[in-house]
């Protein structure tokens, strides 16, 4: 059943407009990379673009998974098409899980493609492997948070998810205090090995991975709890 929901979700995504808008947003770091490259001609200096580009990538991470997951879940509930799914003989969490199964990988791939292209354009280098891991894990975690928020507030799920990340998660991730532990984008950066002031020499990747997973799972669990009680 989860597979069927995932296929249905993918089919709808491929025939809609959200995918193309998200692709456009994912290319934002590439545009920034091109602009930076035009302004700096020293190849050594260009190598430092990675940090700037990663900041832009955090914006993309805040928006793209929300566009996919939160809008898909939120619109389904708001448009009442969810009644077709909930009246079927399947547990409700299958619907959320199926959507996540379909959309989180798409969000991961799109953000990764944007990042790889941006690094190539900006620094003429291949993106470091751990930055790919950080972005992919971040996209997955943010997708799970988006699922939770959209279930709690379907009408404004996408907007609230974006606002949550842009006005809460990213800013607190920049605060040098223990509060930043709660930031998924901060943990994604930690997993990627990119610190505020450059690449860490001996990065601890396990802690950010576990912390990110816990935050994402808490939000996802809230979403599953809420969906069991939601009426259509």
């Amino acid at each position: 059943m989860i597979g069927t929901i995932a296929r249905l979700t993918l089919k709808r995504l491929l025939r809609g407009q959200v995918l193309w808008v998200a692709l456009g947003i994912a290319l934002l770091p590439v545009v920034v990379a091109a602009v930076l490259r035009q302004s700096v001609h020293d190849p050594m200096e260009r190598a430092t673009f990675a940090l700037d580009l990663y900041v832009v990538e955090m914006f993309v991470l805040s928006v793209v998974p929300a566009m996919f997951v939160a809008s898909s879940i939120g619109e389904e509930i708001e448009d009442r098409t969810i009644t077709y799914l909930w009246s079927r003989p399947l547990p409700r969490w299958h619907v959320t899980a199926g959507k996540l199964l379909a959309l989180a990988p798409v969000a991961m791939v799109i953000t990764l493609l944007g990042w790889l292209a941006a690094m190539k354009v900006g620094t003429e280098a291949v993106a470091p492997r751990w930055t790919l891991v950080g972005i992919a894990a971040g996209a997955l975690a943010i997708s799970m948070v988006a699922a939770g928020i959209a279930t709690l507030a379907p009408k404004h799920g996408m907007a609230l998810t974006i606002i949550y990340f842009l006005l809460f998660d990213v800013p607190i991730g920049e605060i040098p205090a223990s509060l930043q532990t709660l930031s998924i984008t901060h943990q994604a950066r930690g997993l990627a090995g990119i610190a505020m002031h450059g690449v860490r020499s001996v990065p601890d990747r396990l802690t950010p991975a576990i912390t990110m997973a816990v935050i994402a799972l808490v939000w996802f669990a809230i979403g599953l709890w809420k969906i069991r009680r939601t009426e259509a």
Binding site: M1, K11, R12, R15, P89
Partner: protein, 305 residues
Amino acid sequence: MSVVVADRCSKWYGHVLGISDVSWTLKGGIVGLLGPNGAGKSTLIKMMAGLLRPSRGSLTVFGGSPFDDVDVRRRIGYAPEHEKTWDMLTALELVEVMAELAGVANARKAAKDALAQMGMTDAMNRRVKGFSKGMRQRTKLATAIAHDPEFLLLDEPLTGVDPVARIDIVERIKKLGEAGKTIIVSSHVLYEIEALTSDIVVIYRGQVLAEGNVYEIRKLIDQHPHRIRVECDQPRTIAAALATADHVARIVFERGAVLIETRDPDRCYDQLAQAVLEGGVAVSALSSPDNNLGAVFDYLTGDRR
């Protein structure tokens, strides 16, 4: 065994009442759920479909809770009132995925069969986006029957359907009933229900006012003029065809539509269908404003007090 048992069942949406203290048992057959808009028909149907949970009391279908019990929902087919669906899918894709989600082994075949039963074979590979209201209703009905459920819940399946399609859909629903399925059909138009069954449940302001035979309530309703609104490309052709009929009390032109007030809805619907066919009129929507039904129900409740 009863299909549905509601025991002092109530449902509130915050402070708004949906259903109030309904005790009702459904044994089988085709049953019409009749009441004006906002009476609580959809609330009751959604509770039976497992989309809503009673705020108080209980409602069981096949002895279990449709909200919590997956196995109960397997035996139910539900066609919602709203038109929204996944418009970018074809009718076949939509019905197939619904059958698959209901656990049907050969979902594609089941979907094709269901669409054929609803007369949608020719259009099954077209996207739902371009469908007329009648085609959407047929597609919704196909999604409800694709997994061959024992119990069908059809929420306003004839709303907005043109007269020719209406007759066809009524016949198809009747066939499902003859095949042994228990069917609940809701409507705010008595004449739609009457064409399907004489067994009705009258619901008003969240309460079951009456249940049983349709004829008594019909007598009351016939005393009130019945209004039919036809949205079409040639309102004047429709008006011309009905203007001289003795049962027509008034004809009002609206933008892209004509409103007919009649004292004999049966004859009016027949003549309307004939006028549509003969005049080659393209009907985009047909509705029956339910003020008259509301007035009758007000009268009924007033009479009870």
